[in-house]
């Protein structure tokens, strides 16, 4: 099943391959353009590896089902796009609260609302972190090629299992529907879940703030709840301390491990005066434009967060010589608040919301304009 080697496939299919390689054995989903191809591929592939696929009645059910399955010790995933992603928000919060490892792929399309289903956008960046109510942190990855659709899906599972959080693979219609070379390597690094062997073990955590997870059916008599709870799972909806310590740990679990989670790519940043920050599909032409700008003698740099949340803030805060930061993205809001926060007074937004990715020459032109 999915032999190592070279394939020419679309991004959605590569994500499904990645999930299978990561050990995903359960997928529950609901069709939606442009993510249906992931769903369809999982329907086809999962039984081949002894896994199970369910098309559910809606997205509320889909995310609920994968959380349920995760507690049975099965790596689980769903895939959707904007409208379905909005519906999943309540239970993304539940997964964060109960520390359930799940992977959710959002193949972004042009919104808001129904918008343009087949066209690309990056309008869900803030939602992917703040879409559910209350305080929590999750992890969001942003691939920019078919190869990364595969690799980042594997990585999403690894991070989900490692930190017991919902991980969002935030793709878009461009990358999801694009076809490109995919190389499936011989060996892939897979992180497996740490199981608690006793009830007691499941209530304790070390420096990483991540308690080992119990599994239903192992006889631990677990209590899992989305209500505020003590470390042993006992519901407590009245104590200030329990609320504070639980929520703080859930957030700190990500913040404390930022160094391990943050991921980015950069080029020409040492001496760059103008920096193009970009992610996902847009980062392809952004990089191309920076290379072209350098050829023209412009001191341009390129910086690309591969993990959007937590953002690579440490690294960004060290990029001191920069005079201007351009953020091209397929959204009027996208990542701009984060980048403006990191580069106050230097920030230039360059949104494009036509459903098309920026071109190299558009970004190059913008770089040149901003230098004038």
């Amino acid at each position: 099943m999915i032999e190592p080697g070279e394939y020419f496939v679309e991004g959605d299919l590569a994500a499904a391959y990645g999930a299978i390689k990561a050990g995903c054995k359960f997928f529950a989903g609901y069709p939606i353009t442009p993510a249906s191809e992931i769903t369809q591929a999982m329907a086809e592939l999962l039984p081949q590896v002894g896994g199970k696929f369910l098309q559910m009645e809606d997205e509320l059910a889909s995310i609920s089902a994968i959380i349920g399955a995760s507690w049975a010790g099965i790596k689980s995933m769903t895939a959707t796009s904007g409208p379905g992603f909005s519906l999943m928000q309540e239970n993304i919060g539940y997964a964060a609260m109960t520390e359930t490892p799940i992977v959710v792929i959002d193949v972004q399309r042009a919104g808001p609302s129904i918008g343009q289903a087949t066209r690309a956008a990056q309008g869900d960046v803030m939602q992917s972190r703040f879409g559910s109510h209350g305080d929590y942190e999750n992890i969001v990855l942003s691939p920019n090629s078919v190869q990364e659709m595969f690799e980042f899906t594997v990585k999403s599972f690894n991070l989900a299992e490692r930190y017991r959080v919902p991980v969002i693979l935030l793709s878009d219609a461009e990358i999801g529907h694009m076809m490109e070379r995919l190389v499936v390597p011989e060996s892939i690094n897979i992180i497996e879940r740490k199981y608690a062997k006793t009830f007691d073990e499941a209530t304790k955590y070390g420096d990483d703030l991540v308690p080992p997870m119990g599994r239903f059916g192992d006889g631990l008599e677990l209590m899992v709840t989305g209500s505020t709870h003590k470390p042993d799972g006992t519901r407590d909806t009245g104590s200030p301390e329990i609320q504070s310590s639980l929520v703080t740990r859930l957030v700190e679990k990500i913040n404390k491990n930022r160094k391990d989670i943050e991921d980015w790519e950069e080029m020409f940043t040492e001496d760059a005066e103008i920096l193009v920050i970009s992610y996902g599909a847009t980062s392809r032409p952004a990089k191309g434009a920076v290379i072209k700008a350098r050829e023209k003698g412009i001191k341009a740099g390129y910086f690309r967060p591969k993990v959007l949340w937590p953002a690579p803030e440490n690294r960004m805060s060290k990029l001191k010589n920069i005079k201007k930061v351009i953020l091209p993205e397929m959204s009027l809001r996208g990542y701009s608040m984060e980048i403006e926060k990191m580069f106050p007074g230097k920030f230039v937004h360059f949104p494009k919301v036509t459903g098309n990715v920026h071109t190299v020459s558009e970004i190059l032109k913008k770089i040149e304009e901003e230098l004038r």
Partner: protein, 261 residues
């Protein structure tokens, strides 16, 4: 003879419960524990899933098995994932009438349709109890509640009939007066291959009591006198459906076997 003390020691995580005096939820907990005991099911082979509501607290934390206390309306969907991921588990959902048929009605419909092998016990107290006595999908026409102060303009859903129409393998309705029948139905539900649904008409003295102007003893007597196997509509009790048909996780297993050979 099985004593309550034995049941408590064996199956109950802790007492006293947070339920009001005379609440039927405690009786249902008692019934569930006894059904499990009658079947001699090992506790680690049972998983209890519930949503949000007073009745959702029956298994969580009181039943001494793995328990997943989920979001409001979704326990059946969570349970479906859990069951599919580990078909060996007996997955028991305990859900209030609001949880199960208000916000969660769609999942109920589709679990019945797809015949996933879980057992749903729906506690029908005719009201949204936990949030303070609002109208439920099971509240009768013209009844006054805090959100229908001038009478309910809508009608009560005959839940068991709908679940039967949707394709469930086993459907029964009892009241908290009918403890032995209820226990028997839970046993049947838990042994049934396909989707089983047990509706329990239960007393909520605090809010339902206010609507009906009855205390819990009066309600129990009303259950005894009014609910009959030969009654019509929502007052009919008994087993409505008891059939065999292919179960979802079995079908998924068959697919795997077919594909892999």
């Amino acid at each position: 003879m099985i004593t309550a003390n034995y049941i408590k020691n064996e199956y109950i995580r802790r007492m006293p419960s947070a339920f009001c005096p005379g609440c039927g939820d405690g009786q249902i907990l008692n019934a569930i524990a006894r059904a499990i005991d009658h079947l001699k099911l090992p506790r680690n082979e049972i998983a209890a899933v519930s949503g949000i509501g007073c009745s959702a607290w029956i298994p969580s934390p009181y039943l001494r098995v793995d328990s997943l206390h989920t979001t409001h309306g979704r326990p059946i969907a969570f349970a479906t994932g859990l069951k599919v991921a580990n078909p060996k588990l007996k997955v028991l959902v305990v859900s209030g009438d609001g949880d199960c048929t208000g916000i969660g009605g769609n999942h109920l419909l589709h679990a019945a349709r797809s015949n996933v092998g879980i057992t749903v016990i729906m506690v029908n107290n005719g009201v949204y109890a936990m949030t303070g006595g609002q109208v439920a999908p099971t509240t009768e026409h013209e009844y006054k509640t805090v959100t229908t102060p001038y009478g309910n303009p809508a009608f009560a859903l005959n839940v068991s009939e709908v679940v039967a129409a949707a394709g469930a393998s086993y459907v029964a309705r009892w009241t908290t007066w009918h403890m032995n029948q209820l226990i028997r139905s839970i046993e049947k539900g838990l042994t049934k291959k396909g989707f089983s649904f047990i509706e329990v008409i239960s007393q909520c003295p605090t809010y339902e009591g206010r609507i009906l102007n009855m205390d819990h003893i009066q309600m129990l007597h009303w259950f005894r006198d009014k609910f009959k196997t030969d009654e019509k509509g929502v007052f009919r009790i008994g087993e409505f459906v008891d059939i065999e048909k292919p179960e979802l996780t079995d079908e998924l297993q068959k697919i795997i076997e077919k594909v892999r050979k």
